[in-house]
């Protein structure tokens, strides 16, 4: 019996998959959507600011959004693990699931890079213009998070 069989047969897997309660699968999936909204939504605010939307917002004022994003990420790591455990054997064989995980890793890298290299750069803050590389990174981040959401949604439709 492989690891995924074991996960699927675990008490947590059985409960998530087989409980008729509205507080089991439906609630976990709803929390996963809320976490996604927090992470990708707040990230989009930062990206759009770098793409020159709302130019009067100081870049450093966006830093607290990262706490919000990491809370969303934490919710989604937990709910994501539970959703995976419930259907571990089929999810572990689904190519689009690994596409999703890869794209999320890349998207997170852009989100972290934007914080460390752009939002805290006094030169950018004082010049008032967003350098080209910053705009490119913001656009890449926006596209990667869009792709991550798309891949996640497609897990329901592709085998």
């Amino acid at each position: 019996m492989g690891v995924t069989d074991w996960l699927e047969a675990s008490a947590l897997g059985v409960w998530t998959r087989e409980s008729p309660s509205i507080w089991a699968y439906p609630t976990i999936l709803t929390l996963h959507t809320i976490g996604l909204g927090m992470l990708a939504g707040a990230n989009a605010v930062v990206d759009f600011r770098l793409l020159a939307f709302a130019p009067r917002l100081p870049l450093s004022s966006l830093l607290p959004l990262y706490r919000f994003m990491w809370s969303g990420l934490a919710i989604n790591v937990v709910t994501g693990v539970v959703l995976f455990v419930a259907e571990a054997t089929s999810k572990a064989r689904q190519p689009v699931f690994f596409v999703k995980l890869t794209v999320i890793a890349l998207a997170l890298a852009t989100t972290v890079k934007i914080r460390s290299s752009l939002l805290q750069d006094p030169a950018i803050e004082h010049s008032g213009t967003i350098p080209r590389r910053a705009r490119q990174l913001a656009l890449l981040s926006l596209l990667l998070w869009t792709a991550a959401i798309t891949a996640g949604r497609l897990m329901a439709y592709l085998r």
Binding site: A24, L51, T146, R153, L154, Y157
Partner: protein, 133 residues
């Protein structure tokens, strides 16, 4: 490009990306995998029942016109929502002989059914008294 044009371009690019996916993910319809313009009927013995989330499944063993064994896979809703509409695990159990009508899977050579209505051999309906599907 000024700021407004650039934002317009970004928004358009995202909108195109979303629209490209929208027909598939607008809501979780069965239209992608099943053909609602057709109907299909099967009769057989229930071999396996998976009452689960996000979708439940019932497997039937039956025999086709050529005498070959066929396994039908009947896809139902989430166990959470089935329970709310009155389904219980006792209504569909392995060993029962049932008739199923529904819409067929689009996949060639497959034996999938959804939007299913179950009945006993004598034609009496199986399921909660009000329409559950």
């Amino acid at each position: 490009m000024n700021v407004r044009q650039r934002l317009g371009a970004v928004a358009s690019a995202l909108a195109i990306g979303v629209l490209a996916v929208a027909p598939v993910s607008a809501h979780h319809s069965s239209a992608e995998a099943y053909d609602s313009s057709k109907s299909v009927e099967a009769q057989g013995t229930i071999t396996r029942v998976l009452f689960k989330n996000p979708h439940s499944f019932v497997f039937l063993e039956s025999t086709d016109a050529q005498g070959q064994k066929v396994e039908w896979q009947v896809e139902l809703g989430a166990f959470s929502s089935m329970t709310r509409s009155g389904w219980t695990k006792e209504m569909l159990a392995p060993g029962m002989v049932v008739k199923v009508t529904g819409i067929p899977s689009r996949a060639p050579g497959s034996h999938g059914i959804t939007n299913a209505k179950f009945a006993k051999q004598d034609g009496s309906p199986i399921g909660p008294s009000r329409s559950a599907q």
